[in-house]
């Protein structure tokens, strides 16, 4: 019985928060800003509470971090391993232009 009441209460609090807090649409903007500047106390509090009740926005943060980490890791070691390169045509054009300059 006590467990049931507790669950019901928890559910009501979550529901109330969901209706009171900034929406997901507003929250994803705050999440992006948090990667650019320190958030205010108010923004941090609302974000924390929103994340407590919203798994989707938790994934959203995680995905932005995966994208950032992957892009920066790629930037550091990209050219050595990536396929492709100058086309023969471009290589010869650049070679001609360099010879003319030299």
């Amino acid at each position: 019985m006590a467990v049931k009441i507790y669950d019901k209460l928890k559910h009501s609090i979550r529901y109330w928060l969901l209706r009171t807090l900034p929406t997901c649409q507003q929250t994803v903007e705050t999440i992006s800003q948090s990667m650019e500047r320190p958030l205010s106390l108010d923004e941090r509090l609302k974000l924390k509470l929103h994340l407590w009740i919203c798994a989707w926005c938790q994934w959203y943060i995680e995905h932005l971090q995966i994208i950032r980490e992957t892009a920066r890791a790629k930037a550091d070691e990209l050219p050595e391993y990536a396929p492709g390169g100058l086309s023969d045509e471009a290589r010869e054009r650049i070679r001609r232009n360099l010879t003319n300059q030299n």
Partner: protein, 202 residues
Amino acid sequence: MNASQGKFPDQSPDPGRWLDDHGDYLFKYAVFRLRDDTAAEDAVQETFLAALKAYKEFEGRASERTWLVGILKHKVVDHFRRSVREAPLGDESDEGPEHREFFERPEPWQGHWNNDYAPNEWHATPAELIERNDFWKVFNDCLSPLPERTASAFTLREVDGLKSEEICDILSIRVNNLWVMLHRARLHLRNCLQLNWFRREQ
């Protein structure tokens, strides 16, 4: 000393060998950022031309490749500067799509994730992703529909990790514009990757 580590400032420069030793590397570096073959080829050529002029200042303190990449970085930034000068920032839609359809419209859940677009678990780590060439193809295709300035802002920030002030200076925008652009680029790219990469991989 090995040739590609070359020092010898009194030795005459050999741009033909630079092209053979570093051409592909520099091209891949540039094309990843510029997402355009012709622009990347031009940046590589400009790099070698600038290197020829600056050869006397190259004293072999760094490896030849590091020195050339240092020059190329400036050429890539020059390209971004030039292309935004040709296209001044107009109205808000120039910053990228808002993607309002990602969120519910009718009450009571207005502004919350629409089920079709909501994030879900991605089964991958950055270490796995960087190895996957097909992932980078999707990544590039996902950035392509964004306005050029927005895609450039994203690249300068998320790939090269430049500070806001530097990016604003390069792209001639205010910091508020930059934040809107980065937000829209992230919103768009995340969704596009989920649809075209992560959902298919699972």
